[in-house]
Symmetry: C3
Amino acid sequence: AQSSVTLFGIVDATFNHGRADGGSRVTQLTNSGYNSSRLGFRGTEDLGGGMSASFWLEAGISNDDGRAGGGIPAGNQATTVAGNTGLNFNRRSTVSLAGGWGELRLGRDYTASFWNLTVFDPFGTNGVGTNTMLLGAATLAPSGTSGVAVRASNTIGYFLPPNLGGFYGQAQYWMGENDDALGVGEDNGSGFGLRIGYGQGPFNVALGWQRTNYEGAGLDDFRSWNLGGQWDFGMAKVMAQYGRDEGAAGGATGVDGRGWLIGALVPVGAGEVRASYSEYRFDFNVAGAPEPRARKFAVGYVHNLSKRTAVYATIARIRNSDGFVGGPRFALGASSFAAGTVNGSSTGYDIGIRHSF
Amino acid sequence: AQSSVTLFGIVDATFNHGRADGGSRVTQLTNSGYNSSRLGFRGTEDLGGGMSASFWLEAGISNDDGRAGGGIPAGNQATTVAGNTGLNFNRRSTVSLAGGWGELRLGRDYTASFWNLTVFDPFGTNGVGTNTMLLGAATLAPSGTSGVAVRASNTIGYFLPPNLGGFYGQAQYWMGENDDALGVGEDNGSGFGLRIGYGQGPFNVALGWQRTNYEGAGLDDFRSWNLGGQWDFGMAKVMAQYGRDEGAAGGATGVDGRGWLIGALVPVGAGEVRASYSEYRFDFNVAGAPEPRARKFAVGYVHNLSKRTAVYATIARIRNSDGFVGGPRFALGASSFAAGTVNGSSTGYDIGIRHSF
Amino acid sequence: AQSSVTLFGIVDATFNHGRADGGSRVTQLTNSGYNSSRLGFRGTEDLGGGMSASFWLEAGISNDDGRAGGGIPAGNQATTVAGNTGLNFNRRSTVSLAGGWGELRLGRDYTASFWNLTVFDPFGTNGVGTNTMLLGAATLAPSGTSGVAVRASNTIGYFLPPNLGGFYGQAQYWMGENDDALGVGEDNGSGFGLRIGYGQGPFNVALGWQRTNYEGAGLDDFRSWNLGGQWDFGMAKVMAQYGRDEGAAGGATGVDGRGWLIGALVPVGAGEVRASYSEYRFDFNVAGAPEPRARKFAVGYVHNLSKRTAVYATIARIRNSDGFVGGPRFALGASSFAAGTVNGSSTGYDIGIRHSF
């Protein structure tokens, strides 16, 4: 085999502190405050006639303590392999054939509906600034860490080619791989996702949608759709998102959620100021029940020492309201402290270094 | 340390379906339908005077869901580390010194007797086409996934040099690494393997043999020998195998097995048609007991888009006969559905992409 | 991301035998008899103005059986992830910024106090020759395999720049990352380390110190200090160490230990003779209690086939004395047999190949 591999990665270390009203207070050296730490292998082969083949194997790494890999739900379902038990390609693991007709991509990949949440978030769903829309959706998908709200295994994906006058899109099907003879449960973890967008000049907007099947007692489909966009004014890039989730877990009527975000990236010399405000609200579909809500504000600064190396700081505060005992409460994203009291707030910050290679 | 590493691998994704009479039906995106998916690191250093040192670290990857690594039985014995818990060099992990006298190789390696099963199988023991001789032998070796029927840890191996007028061969010793003070069980997992062959022009034939010790209640040695060969007629490469296994598991008298295969590879333009017929029969060494038998036919086509990239399809059918309740039944190789009813059949296919780097 | 990664590693395979009086006898193909087997990725980026950024990801590998990775204690505390469950960067996982002022290093790293134990040991704490000072200290630190006696997670480290007229040094802080709201136990696994040394011409000497906090029933701080040095006489490099440990485990008054080593490296043609004598003694801080003691002698020879490849042999014998039933007994380092009878001896040898890349 001729070798033609690009070895790439990111090592992002963060000094992080978070605390919740009546909850826990944690100070740690953690990772991925700006960009997710990773180690990957990828390559592309030109097959002639406009065709190419490529592969992408990307593993998450926990560089603060050396652990590697992450939990991968079996067949996209709730049973999870324990996280951090050794390097695996939990972030992405695909092989593709591409041509003028687009790209066929097979393997573990991001779900189409995740892209809007991260692309149109000034904090890219990393660190204490992670938006509440992802945090909320992740609690409603029953399959492991963030589950199919972020990635799915066993996907067959199709991507439109890049030369469609600004239009882009993808469709995905993922398989739960259960025994068809099972009857109930045979479709657990199977799902479908779509994303369609348009980007031209300073403008970019996209719509994402997904549905994953869950079957069994107290389980229903998990569905999400979201709309995100940005306008680059030069002196600032302004972003917005809106999305709705129908949860798979919960009682007879299920729990739903909806959220929105507005944010901006402001270039300042060799750096960038980042800010976002987001909100998420749960709906228990019970008349008169409160709808627990979280509101979050995050602001930060990234200073680029080079294209590959940056130092950064972020501070975020999240306020819970309309909560009830036993109901959902939000802590900051990517901080490992427990949420505090009902209707309590949480505050945290990251100070870190991001080095890519 | 001067770096001189070759990074290599294969990403093979397969759309697979299999079903068994009265058993399960599974549709999945899986891996390794044509060649086993892997990621590896290897290199050779010239030491002068005809001597060289080399290393080889090769990990299995499950690229359909991003999991990596595989189960490695501790000391070649039945206790298995759970599979897919993170990257490890389960496929091969060796360091070698080589010279005009041959090669000394230390570490985890293929067992000598496995080579005939895969080299002289048109499907190379991958995908639904995997021959019944490997499937049968794997059930008789008690040490984890396929056990010492395929690989052994803690091996000390010697390989003849490549310039012996067509003759080739290897000898291996592997260690169970038990406490000698144990008494019973001290040799569990220790074994020995040999392979000797002759290949010249269109002709190639080899004999393999191995014995692995198991001790304790209901355990006996696992022994295998096999003979394989091929003749390349240009328009077709014809292959055949015959082998016998004496099982380690089973009752007082033990269970044995024997099987054979005939197959062919036929070049067709940029592709290759593959076909094989194989049979395996268990012998319970009980007078009058039935001898459960499986007969399998597989046919497929591989289309090479380049030396590194191919698309392929395989279909296979296996028929069980002479079975009894509780006795062994075969499903297709490398498909994850359960075997069906006594004397039932199974059918399956693979459609996939193999990309190497 | 521009790629600029150095892929490096060591594959060291050892035929090893060890036996203890009244204990176990094990023969095995193991690893890391001369240098620890590993696979790593590292790189440095010049940021201009004397500044640089770098990363280092290094995993232990068990090349005799293909397993990879090692146990990483959660938050430097006694709970350990089971070893060898898949590749992780248990050996080192750091990102750094460096300049004329020194280096800031974040992540999992060696503890400052470990360096004297390995740098001034002719056997580098590898194989059967591993000195008793490390073996003793490792039993007194409660956090997994060798625990913070060797490495710590979540470290913030500072290293002096290299141009200080022979002076060198480092300071480290590591975090247990517990919830501050816990009260008791909130500092478990947090610690601090220092090392300061002077090396000029043939002379090199350094002092190391560390303290790790443990809280709870029967737990106290683990503290170590050690002093090591060497003088290179040309025909021989002579080394010596002395150190004391205050254990975290044990009764009301705790268990302490102290040890020393003297050793030499003698160049012989393309090879090197290695020899050391070391002693370690436990102090139970109970009047009249015996102080179990181990004395160890090791001698070996390394023959370099090239800069990257060597063959080696080591033989070691350890004598226990002043022991009592239930008290600590030493086996040889890095051999997997159980210690024998009270006051018994152990003997073992390594014969191996070390190949680096």
